[in-house]
Symmetry: C2
Subunit: 190 residues, 2 copies
Amino acid sequence: MEPKGLFEPITITLPDWVAGIVDPEASYADDLARMRLAVALSDANIERATGGPFGAVVFNAETGRVVGVGVNMVVPARNAVLHAEIVAFMTAQQRIDSYTLANGPHELYTSCEPCAMCLGATLWSGVRRVVWAATRDDASRLAFDEGPVFAASHEYLRARGIRLEQGPLRAEARAILERYGTSGGAIYNA
Amino acid sequence: MEPKGLFEPITITLPDWVAGIVDPEASYADDLARMRLAVALSDANIERATGGPFGAVVFNAETGRVVGVGVNMVVPARNAVLHAEIVAFMTAQQRIDSYTLANGPHELYTSCEPCAMCLGATLWSGVRRVVWAATRDDASRLAFDEGPVFAASHEYLRARGIRLEQGPLRAEARAILERYGTSGGAIYNA
């Protein structure tokens, strides 16, 4: 196969099944309902074999509506940047037609604590709050490296007004990570 | 204007003029020639008003050929993730058709020291070496926040075999940052 030209556009397309799980018209009521969606995405992503065991959603905290959605697409899209959080930020910014989500009460729910790259992206994204289910330790136990994230990294974001919290469904999200590991899924950052 | 649908693909297209500056057939001989290209991209990006004052290139260190190219596209593309380094990683991975650049002697040259997000992305990208021109301090003086990057962050990458170096053309790259600042360019991470 001829390699793609240097200047060819990059197109990022969510798996088809995502539209069957995310309701663009619904109001997701609370932390639990919102995290349930992020975790359902991580679960479906490994069931459908469309990427790693991670899902993320940007919500408008007041309306409860979905603004952006992401799943891990690193291996199938051949793109190491496409963690679930990154895809959720990109789709949210495209939807609101702005490079910053700071113009509204936007919050990220992610099935797993953000890695160093995604934590940096969080700062630039304009979201006000990040909530995760599985923790850094849960991911590390599966040999997913989280990169250079320190207590001072979280403090850095908090000092800039971003709330970072461990939320509901940790056990469920961790079980999905473990299922991915035991099914021989690629641990591409090992 | 109707907002874009939640599930619409995202397309990332380099500015047209990039193909006039980057020679896909050339062998860029050494650190200086390679950095000259990264800095030329940052310069042209503000001249053409297609983004922030940052350029980056992934090279094959042995052949000297360009594998991926990026400029900052945050404001025009309405996408906070599209720092020059991120775009360079994405185009390089598309070109070699793999999510990792670790299968070859790939190195990133960037006009400015990577921020927290791009440093995390560096770890996942598979490049073996990163060389920058302007430093974190130069960018900070212009009020570009670099995010939670600590000495321990660099140590973390070095411990995993990635070389991180300040390279040639710092004064030239810093002058471009300053020109952008005095011309009233958007400091979107301020």
